[in-house]
């Protein structure tokens, strides 16, 4: 079944007519040419396809595009440019928060979404008690970023980059 979908992607209104079986990730990459989100596992386990969907970080491989008609999507490419990088992108450069770079656009979108969740006071598995406001500790950052895998193992520098972007 074909369906026409309109999305705002990185500030631009985009329309495509696709099969209902097309995931949000495949719509972005294969139909709209937006290749910042990457296909890693395609089963929601690695986080490399993470974008901000209506402001929240989500994996795009486990979502049918048709369900998200009308949504606003920000990919890593929409956060900043090579000339004017987003503070999170700048921090990943400053701290070598990557090696091969394949997981990086997902890491960056996830980190931006994660800091907003922390700012909003959402608890995590390592928050000492769920009633009090969580602190921005390295342990909190690591736990909250556990949905983004890095096969190169750049985790130490990723945590340092996120700390810098969050304000030191």
């Amino acid at each position: 079944m074909q369906t026409t979908i309109t999305l705002t992607v990185d500030g631009q209104r985009r329309t495509a007519t696709v099969d209902t079986r097309v995931t949000l990730l495949d719509l972005l990459r294969e139909h709209l040419g937006v290749v910042a989100p990457k296909k890693g596992c395609d089963h929601g386990q690695c986080g490399s396809c993470t974008v901000l969907l209506d402001g929240r970080r989500v994996t795009t491989c486990l979502a049918f595009a048709v369900q998200h008609d009308g949504a606003e999507i920000t990919t890593a490419a929409g956060l900043g440019t090579a000339d004017e990088p987003h503070p999170m992108q700048r921090a990943f450069l400053d701290h070598d928060g990557f090696q091969c770079g394949y997981c990086t656009p997902g890491q960056i979108c996830s980190a931006v979404g994660m800091l907003a969740e922390l700012e909003a006071g959402w608890p995590s598995h390592v928050t000492r008690d769920v009633v009090s406001r969580p602190q921005r500790t390295p342990a909190e950052i690591r736990e909250r970023m556990s949905g983004n895998l890095c096969r190169c193992g750049a985790y130490v520098n990723i945590v340092a980059a996120i700390e810098q972007a969050a304000g030191g």
């Binding site: 049918f64 969740e117 909003a120 769920v130 009633v131």
Partner: protein, 326 residues
């Protein structure tokens, strides 16, 4: 993947009618489990009815407790002040599950209805009575380290993978549904079922019956969730324990214990609870009660470790709650 039609439901009644009339139709919420299963070829609906835009996305005080809309996202539920303050066990269970990205998509009802992560269920090339009734169980005698030790049958040893549902079981939650024959209230202990000789049925819901809300009654005492897993984050439970404990002057006024990772459903430890209620809140009593609960365990060689692990986790959680109570 088989082609499918897509409809967006505008009200619960319409959603139920759309699915109930077609055996090949299914509700679609967050999609984190169903979409994966469609990719794996485990299920192939011909119609998906999107229920995420139904007005079922609020958490409100209700009848002395709290009513959780079926469409509330796991992240929103874990962060909700009413849940964090009154039902910390539920907030803890939610943040112990999946990843931040998945919790932003997954819904309350979808979490309850997620299916087992048994590797054979997810692998179409192997026999599995849950996926293909009558084909046999590859897990019995196969890779069973992650699988059930309580309430198993000769046809299936799958576990229910949810953390959230374990906390809800300890909280005596009531699941509200809308079906072709009208609304229904189901105590959470009666929502999921044991495999018996029909492991293809995870729950007692009828086809087309839609979960609309989960009600949590008021609860007295302290509560906590502890999850034991192979990694410290982003892994399913080997064993988990949700408990509510109310101690008055050293005596257990009320106790509720539910186990995850050990059975086809969130396992309410009724035997242990009955032994503890009205008795002393001591380490000895906790050990004896946990041991009594696990008397019924029938593990495989590979998952026998879960029996002492579950016993010790129950004791540890009760001990911690006891310390907090005083």
């Amino acid at each position: 993947m088989r082609p499918f039609a897509f409809e967006r439901a505008t009200d619960a009644q319409a959603a139920v009618a759309l699915v109930a009339d077609r055996p090949g139709a299914a509700f679609l919420a967050g999609g984190t489990n169903l979409v994966d299963h469609m990719k794996l070829g485990i299920t192939a609906p011909e119609l998906l009815v999107d229920v995420t835009r139904l007005p079922l996305d609020t958490v409100q005080e209700h009848d002395g407790g709290v009513r959780i809309g079926a469409g509330v996202r796991n992240s929103d539920l874990s962060a909700h002040p009413l849940i964090r303050e009154r039902y910390p066990v539920l907030s803890q269970a939610l943040v112990a599950g999946a990843s931040g990205q998945l919790r932003n998509l997954a819904t309350t009802a979808g979490n309850l209805l997620q299916r087992t992560r048994c590797v054979y269920f997810q692998d179409r090339t192997t026999p599995c009575n849950k996926r293909e009734p009558g084909s046999g169980c590859s897990a019995i005698g196969g890779h069973s380290r992650d699988l059930a030790v309580l309430g198993v049958s000769e046809h299936c040893i799958a576990t229910h993978p949810s953390d959230m549902a374990v906390a809800m079981a300890a909280l005596d939650a009531v699941v509200q549904t809308q079906g072709p024959d009208g609304p229904r209230s189901i105590p959470i202990g009666e929502l999921h079922r044991l495999p018996g000789d029909t492991p293809e049925h995870d729950t007692t819901l009828a086809h087309g019956e839609l979960i609309t809300a989960v009600d949590l009654p008021a609860v007295a005492g302290a509560s906590a969730y502890r999850k034991v897993r192979d990694r410290s984050s982003y892994a399913f439970a080997l064993v988990s324990v949700a408990a509510v404990l109310d101690v008055t002057a050293g005596t257990i006024a009320d106790v509720r214990i539910a186990l995850g990772g050990v059975a086809h459903k969130p396992w309410r430890a009724a035997t242990a609870e009955a032994r503890l209620r009205g008795g002393p809140a001591t380490e000895e009593a906790f050990v004896a009660a946990a041991g009594a609960e696990l008397q019924a365990a029938t593990p495989t060689v590979d998952n026998a470790f879960k029996v002492p692990l579950a016993r010790n986790t129950i004791v540890a959680v009760l001990r911690d709650l006891c310390t907090r109570e005083h």
